[in-house]
């Protein structure tokens, strides 16, 4: 994504509404977005330019030019141009397709329609034609086209609701309110057209939660903040219409500014490969220099005497100049050590691996019909080297569905299912559900398995009834009932939604509310409660209460909140119940459930009256109002009676704890970066087994200033450092990170992270964090997520992987070496920015441990073999140089040189690179530490490179000198001479092809039919082409191009030639076999062992696989985390968010409840805020 750099210069933005001429003076970005790189005309030049910027391509171009100089040319031009054109064409086609899709998506977005107020009329315009300063009208469920200043809306008080999932990943609705002066404009087009306010505000930036500006209109100034902004990427919800003034457009919107720069991601192998290619290049030059010096000396000592037979065209050429020319000639001949087909082959392999990922049925999520997708084809082998995983929480680890799972009422738990013998039964999909058909207002998606609770309800046990009555009364949810009985709740927090839905199903249906009343249907009967006060939630109180008067006139206070808080405020008579409930809470928490305690209190009329007076007084207080109110709340929430507790399951995605455990065993560190609250994040940490009770310490960093953070961090560092020293005493020899027996966890808050990420503290942060088994960062912004990833990338030089599902994860996904998007959850932002996408977190295990490991293994084997092969192939020329007067004479036929890499030896190694499996998928998953070699970079590194090139050098030496020895005096069996150049060439070439074929056979662990076909086929093709090119027919057509006529026939019918080939092959191969055998026998690697085991079990036949089950061992009480913000109570009691009951369903006749959501309909209850209709 291109950033508009003019924004860097902009210091202040002036926007005048409805005045395009004025706004155009500043040349703000328009609302067109452009992510494509080329157009039809620029494609060829730009693409070629880009391609020739790549070192390899430029190198081959230079070679090609060199080859056109006859004095230098030791090979015909076609040996280079054929592969080069092939490479360029393949890359160009790929780039063109990519760009075509970018064009298409840009086009699609740019041509979306929006209603713009132009010349006093609302007109439909394409998004790209929207300008800064335009007023546009949005309708319900539309995407916001640009960053807007909210002017007016259909709702009272200029309120409107937006969903910001695309921006920050939070799924709860947010309220935006227009200025009163502008909300008075309403939907009066004439008035809006006359609106000429001027906004002066900050320049474009990427801060999603901040906006400062002023609106000047009619000589008045109004201050503007983020609460009045609708950002691009949001969706308008529950608001019939609204009008907004475009402040930032297109690339300058906060969404686009937050995208982060798209960097071209390259794998570490890529980088290593480039270094190695440079080294090889250096080596090539060295060889060239040696041979050139040799040539100079030869020309002086021998060549000048040989003049009679071998003259230069120009007699002026001296030995030194000849050496210089020879240098270039040798560069051309030896260039095959840097094979052009290397890059193409690597691309092909990666493409193949990507397809295997796309095709994997085990990464296909049938419920959403989403297969895994490798969106980039360049990173596959890096999947086998990941050391750090950065994961988002909501939607990635969790399903973002809250489910009422269990409860404890008056000391009795409900929710577990027992069989006839009294044993607890695991709840599965098949467990029968409780039948709620007695209740016509039930929510059909609600599932509960324990029928005893319904029986208790039917028996009208008073406390059970009171329990659900509390749940139905004490909340800030807005109901919507479009048709009779079709209730939809709009909750800011999914927890509340789950609780009220539970109450609804158990017969306490919250049906409607006004600012003063709440109407319940209790077991089918309408009961209206007077709502006297809402004692709202905030972070300190960690509880909320309502005070209601029931139809009988009794005053009741209902309260729900964190158990620790509530238990302190109970009536002393409740102590016994408190203990039992406390035990139950422990039990729930142990299962990873989010708990909440419930209590009630009967209020005395007089006491309440007095309190109410104080409350009214306090609420009008000018200073310290919050504290005064808090104290008052505290006063009345005393001496409550415990009712019980609820347990909500923040449903993890399937297999998350198992996956995390498995990945941890593979020595991958998993960090959770979430925008959620500390409590929520910790809760999830416990339920996915990342945090455990047996951990030594869980550090929580939540300082607000630099100093505090520093202290907290260094304190931790100090203490953990002490432990580290201790452990080092025990085992000082091994890597310290592994010797730490003590386990730590670090949880760091967003604002602390902001400080910790500053230059002074980041080193400490990295040190501390890396000592910890688990790191959780909560309340972090999208950009901070990226910064954390960046930090680890910089300090640890480890491969990082970021996984997320929302737009708030985009920057992190783009920053990490590998970005993975969870598809099918909240929009597509993350997926579009990602390199890989799939539907479930648990597929990550397979992606890394199976596909990643295989890819890495294959790629490394491929590279080793490739370098070996090319060294063996090319260096024969080097040795020959010493015997042919350093004249750059090739050993082989030109055609052989042209075809060797692209025809004779490409397919077997490609087949190996595509299909090889050292260990099959079951074993890869069963032994996660097979992943270790990838992280340690063991399979291909500089040392490996040296060994395989050395092997290549030795092979070339043998390949040259055994035929040399044999051909010194050899003649054919009919006496004719055979030690001619062409026979020599054919013998060495044939030996080479056979040797490298045997070698690939040794390197192939997994011989599929394709491998067989390619290996044997390559040999067959070699001989076929050999005989074809040495045939009479082709010679008579092109006598100059195929001078090897008859050589194959005349040499390969000689026994001696075959004896030479056999000897050469054995001498080249057997040492390698011996070395490999010894290595595997004496120092077997993990892989060797598993392979043996695999072979042994294969012989025995398949065995039952033992599945790894992860038991959750946490006994931590999960504190109740209201996921919503404070202040909704006030909105309700003031009635601001209640709609005047006039307009309603008629405007939306075709309104479907789940429209715009991805089908997670139970989640949609929590996500959608809709109008109350009455």
């Amino acid at each position: 994504t291109k950033l508009n750099f003019s924004s860097a210069l902009e210091e202040e933005r002036h926007v005048r509404a409805n005045d395009r001429d004025y706004n155009e003076r500043f040349s703000y970005a328009d609302n067109r977005i452009k992510t494509a790189k080329y157009n039809v005309f620029t494609f060829l030049p730009i693409n070629l330019f880009e391609q020739f910027q790549r070192f390899a391509n430029a190198y081959f171009l230079v070679l090609l030019i060199l080859q056109l100089i006859p004095e230098i040319s030791s090979l015909s031009w076609f040996t280079t141009i054929v592969p080069l054109v092939l490479v360029l064409a393949i890359t160009a086609v790929k780039d063109a397709t990519d760009d075509y899709f970018r064009h298409k998506s840009d086009q699609q977005v740019n041509t979306r329609q929006s209603q713009v107020l132009i010349k006093g009329k609302l007109q439909n315009e394409k998004w790209m034609n929207v300008r800064v300063g335009d007023i546009i009208k949005l309708e319900n469920n539309q995407f916001v086209a640009a960053d807007l200043l909210l002017l007016s809306s259909s709702e009272p008080y200029g309120l409107c609701y937006i969903e910001t999932a695309e921006l920050d990943g939070e799924t709860n609705l947010k309220v935006r309110q227009a200025l009163t002066v502008t909300s008075d404009l309403g939907d009066d087009v004439a008035k809006l057209a006359d609106f000429s306010g001027e906004v002066i505000c900050e320049p474009p930036n990427n801060k999603l939660d901040k906006f400062t500006g002023t609106l000047c209109w009619k000589d008045n100034k109004y201050s503007l903040d983020n609460e009045k902004m609708l950002l691009r990427g949001c969706v308008l919800r529950n608001t019939e219409w609204c009008f907004g003034l475009v402040i930032f457009a297109g690339l300058q919107t906060k969404l686009m500014q937050n995208c982060g720069r798209t960097k071209f991601k390259r794998t570490s192998i890529d980088k290593l490969m480039n270094t190695l290619v440079l080294w090889i290049f250096g080596f090539l030059i060295c060889m060239g220099i040696i041979l050139a010096i040799g040539n100079t000396i030869w020309e002086q000592k021998v060549g000048s005497d040989f003049w009679e037979y071998l003259q230069w065209k120009e007699l002026t050429i001296n030995a030194v100049f000849s050496g210089f020319l020879t240098f270039w000639s040798y560069i051309i001949i030896l260039n095959t050590v840097v094979p052009i087909s290397l890059y193409v082959s690597v691309e092909v392999l990666r493409l193949g691996h990507s397809y295997f990922i796309n095709w994997d049925r085990r990464m296909y999520y049938s419920r959403k019909a989403t297969p895994a997708e490798a969106r980039t084809t360049t990173l596959n082998e890096e999947l086998g080297q990941v050391e750090f995983i950065f994961s988002d929480k909501t939607g990635t680890l969790t399903q973002n569905i809250m489910v009422f799972n269990k409860c404890s009422i008056n000391g009795k738990t409900y929710g577990d299912v027992y069989d006839e013998f009294g044993h607890k039964v695991d709840i599965t999909e098949k467990t029968p559900c409780v039948d709620f058909s007695f209740n016509p207002l039930m929510d059909r998606k609600f599932r509960f398995h324990d029928s005893s609770l319904v029986e208790a309800i039917k028996l009208e046990e008073p406390l059970v009834q009171e329990f659900f009555r509390l749940l139905a009364l004490c909340h800030t949810i807005m109901p919507e009932e479009r048709n009779e009985g079709e209730l939809v709740y709009q909750a800011q927090s999914p927890d509340e939604g789950a609780l009220v839905t539970a109450a609804r199903n158990f017969g306490f249906v919250f049906r409607s509310r006004t600012p003063e009343t709440i109407t319940l249907y209790e077991m089918g009967q309408a009961v209206t409660y007077q709502l006297l006060a809402i004692l709202d939630f905030n972070n300190v109180r960690k509880r909320m209460s309502v005070i209601v008067r029931n139809p009988k006139g009794q005053l009741k206070l209902y309260s729900k909140g964190a158990d620790t808080i509530l238990f302190d405020r109970l009536d002393p008579s409740n102590e016994e119940l408190m203990f039992t409930t406390s035990e139950h809470l422990n039990e729930f928490a142990g299962e990873g459930l989010r708990t909440l305690a419930l209590a009630y209190k009967d209020l005395d009329e007089d006491v309440f009256d007095e309190w109410m007076k104080k409350l009214l007084f306090a609420s009008t207080a000018l200073d310290n109002r919050e504290e005064k109110l808090g104290a008052l709340y505290e006063e009345i929430e005393q001496g409550m009676l415990l009712l019980g507790a609820t347990a909500i399951e923040d449903k993890l995605q399937e297999g998350v704890p198992e996956t995390i455990a498995c990945l941890t065993l593979a020595n991958i560190k998993i960090w959770v970066l979430t925008g959620d609250k500390l409590e929520t994040a910790m809760n999830i940490g416990y339920s996915c087994n990342m945090l455990r009770d047996d951990m030594n310490t869980v550090f929580i960093i939540s300082g607000h200033t630099m100093l505090e953070v520093q202290q907290e961090l260094s304190k931790d560092k100090f203490s953990s450092g002490l432990d580290m020293e201790k452990t080092e005493l025990y085992s000082s020899d091994s890597v310290f990170e592994e010797t730490i027996i003590a386990e730590y966890a670090l949880i760091i808050n967003g604002h602390s992270l902001a400080h910790a990420l500053e230059a002074d503290l980041e080193q400490i942060l990295v040190d501390v964090a890396c000592l910890c088994k688990t790191v959780i960062c909560c309340r972090v912004t999208p950009l901070q997520k990226a910064l954390v990833v960046e930090l680890i990338k910089r300090h640890k030089r480890a491969v990082t992987l970021a996984i997320g599902d929302g737009a708030n994860d985009v920057s992190m996904i783009k920053t990490a070496h590998i970005g993975v998007g969870i598809s099918g959850q909240e929009g597509m932002q993350a997926v579009l920015a990602s390199d890989y996408s799939f539907a479930q977190f648990r597929y990550l295990q397979r992606l890394l441990l199976v596909h990643g490991r295989w890819s890495y293994h294959r790629m490394c084997n491929f590279l080793c073999y490739f370098f070996y092969k090319n060294f063996a192939f090319t260096l024969v020329h080097f040795w020959y140089g010493f015997l042919c007067g350093f004249s750059a004479q090739t050993v082989y036929d030109q055609w052989f040189i042209t075809l060797f890499n692209i025809v004779y030896t490409s397919l077997p190694v490609l087949a190996m690179g595509l299909f090889d499996q050292d260990v099959n998928e079951q074993y890869s998953l069963r032994f996660p530490n097979l992943y270790r070699p990838g992280q340690l970079n063991q399979l291909f590194n500089k040392r490996k490179f040296f060994t395989c090139t050395l092997q290549g050098v030795c092979t070339s030496f043998i390949l040259f000198f055994i035929p040399y020895g044999a051909f010194m005096t050899a003649v054919r069996d009919d006496g004719a001479h055979i030690s001619d150049q062409q026979t020599f060439a054919v013998t060495i070439a044939t030996s080479l092809v056979i040797v490298v074929s045997v070698q690939i056979g040794l390197d192939t662990n997994y011989w599929t039919a394709v491998n067989h076909f390619f290996i044997w086929g390559s040999l067959a093709v070699y001989f076929a082409i050999l005989f074809a090119m040495h045939s009479d027919g082709i010679f008579t057509i092109f006598p100059n191009q195929f001078p090897f006529i008859g050589t194959a026939r005349n040499s390969l019918n000689q026994k001696i030639v075959w004896l030479v080939i056999l000897l050469t092959t054995v001498v080249c191969i057997m040492p390698m076999v011996a070395v490999r055998f010894i290595k595997a026998d004496l120092y077997p690697t993990q892989t060797d062992k598993v392979r043996l085991l695999q072979q042994a079990t294969r012989k025995q036949g398949p065995q039952e696989q033992n599945l790894r089950r992860v038991r959750r061992t946490s006994s931590r009480r999960s504190a109740y985390a209201f996921a919503h913000q404070q202040g909704y109570g006030e909105l309700i009691t003031s009635g601001k968010n209640m709609k005047v009951p006039t307009s309603s369903t008629s405007t939306y006749p075709l309104y479907s409840p789940t429209r715009g959501l991805t089908g997670t309909s139970s989640a949609s209850i929590c996500k959608c805020f809709r109008h109350q209709k009455h």
Binding site: Q917, T969, D980
Partner: protein, 369 residues
């Protein structure tokens, strides 16, 4: 890239709404369950274990050693006689010829060398000339030829390839055959005489056809306009190579062995791979089973010394050799086979020892996790 997602989301919403669509989508998007796509292709998975590696070493050892012995014995049974006639030594009969060489001299210099064979050469004897330190494999040398011309192409005859420079034209006439290789063709004449114990010299009859590869003689080399038997006319507008004493159409009197298809010429044109090489010169056919082709005794080699090698310290040799199924005398291969076979066998023993002593045969049990 970013913004395109909005629409995608909307579309998703619609999709989930319509059940029928969803059903077909499932079928189309689910990857096929084929062994190939699921990477479950049946495969042979060999592992280098003691059971496979050790026998391989022993088998190779056991095969190679006999082959080596066979080769060695065969090679030793081949009779070969070599004589250097370069004439660098003062004592050598060819000393004068080698010293007083000039390309322009009209009278050929002759010298005679005497030698004796200790053993009779049975069967056919092949006579080679050997050159040392002669870089027939130098790049500029190797490419300095025009295969089209040699193949009888009329156009190339008139206008030889640029590769032939500087032996392309002479006095504005195209050289035929052009190029450095042809120009430097070996042109010594060797004659062999058997000296009876009574002193009579009998010339040994040579066969000079059949010394080149069949494909070279019949496919690769052809005279221009082969229908025209008059080679003089065919080559009328061409010049002879600078160093040649006579033009290409006078190489032999036999029309089947003249011009480009002269076998001495063809043999020369097949450039050697190494700077020391031998090329077949003549064949001495076995007469009958009773008498050896070359009986024991004294011989004289009469050399018409035309080919200068002194400037680059080259050597010229004449070689007489018999032939076996594996070609000429070649001790290298036999020794190499015996050595490699022994080493393999020995390695097998060593590996067996190491494996038994230190190898961990049951090491799959201690895999962590």
């Amino acid at each position: 890239m970013m913004a395109s997602s909005y629409s995608a989301k909307e579309e998703d919403g619609h999709h989930s709404g319509s059940a029928g669509l969803g059903g077909t989508a499932i079928r189309t998007r689910k990857p096929d369950n084929t062994a190939f796509k699921q990477q479950r292709l049946p495969a042979w998975q060999p592992i280098l274990t003691a059971g496979t590696v050790l026998p391989a070493f022993f088998i190779i050892g056991l095969i190679f050693i006999p082959i080596g012995i066979g080769l060695f014995v065969t090679s030793n049974n081949i009779k070969e006689f070599e004589i250097d006639y370069t004439g660098t030594d003062m004592s050598s009969p060819c000393f004068n010829c080698s010293q007083s060489f000039s390309w322009n001299s009209t009278t050929p210099c002759r010298c005679v060398l005497f030698f004796s064979l200790d053993q009779p050469f049975e069967s056919n004897v092949f006579m080679y000339y050997g050159l040392s330190n002669f870089y027939q494999n130098h790049r500029r040398y190797v490419k300095s030829r025009d295969d089209s011309q040699l193949n009888g192409d009329e156009r190339s005859l008139k206008e030889p390839s640029k590769e032939c420079e500087p032996y392309r034209t002479n006095e504005n006439k195209p050289i035929a055959p052009c190029g450095a290789i042809a120009n430097s063709m070996f042109n010594d004449t060797l004659d062999l005489f058997y000296i009876d114990p009574n002193g009579t010299q009998t010339q040994i009859p040579f066969i000079k056809k059949g010394i080149a590869w069949w494909t070279d003689k019949h496919v690769k080399f052809r005279n221009p306009s082969s229908s025209n038997p008059n080679l003089t006319a065919v080559f009328i507008d061409t010049a002879k190579p600078v160093n040649w004493r006579k033009p290409v159409y006078e190489l032999d009197t036999d029309p089947e062995n003249n011009g480009f298809i002269n076998e001495d010429f063809i043999v020369w044109m097949r450039t050697a791979a190494l700077p020391t090489f031998r090329k077949l010169y003549r064949i001495i056919q076995k007469k009958n089973n009773m008498t050896p082709t070359l009986p024991r005794g004294n011989y004289s080699l009469e050399v018409t010394y035309n080919y200068p090698v002194r400037s680059f310290e080259g050597r010229k040799r004449m070689i007489l050799s018999t032939i076996s199924w594996m070609g000429g005398k070649n001790p290298f291969l036999g020794i190499a086979y015996i050595t490699v076979g022994s080493i393999c066998f020995f390695l097998g023993v060593v590996l067996l020892f190491i494996h038994h002593k230190y190898g961990n045969r049951n090491n799959s049990s201690d895999i962590p996790n």
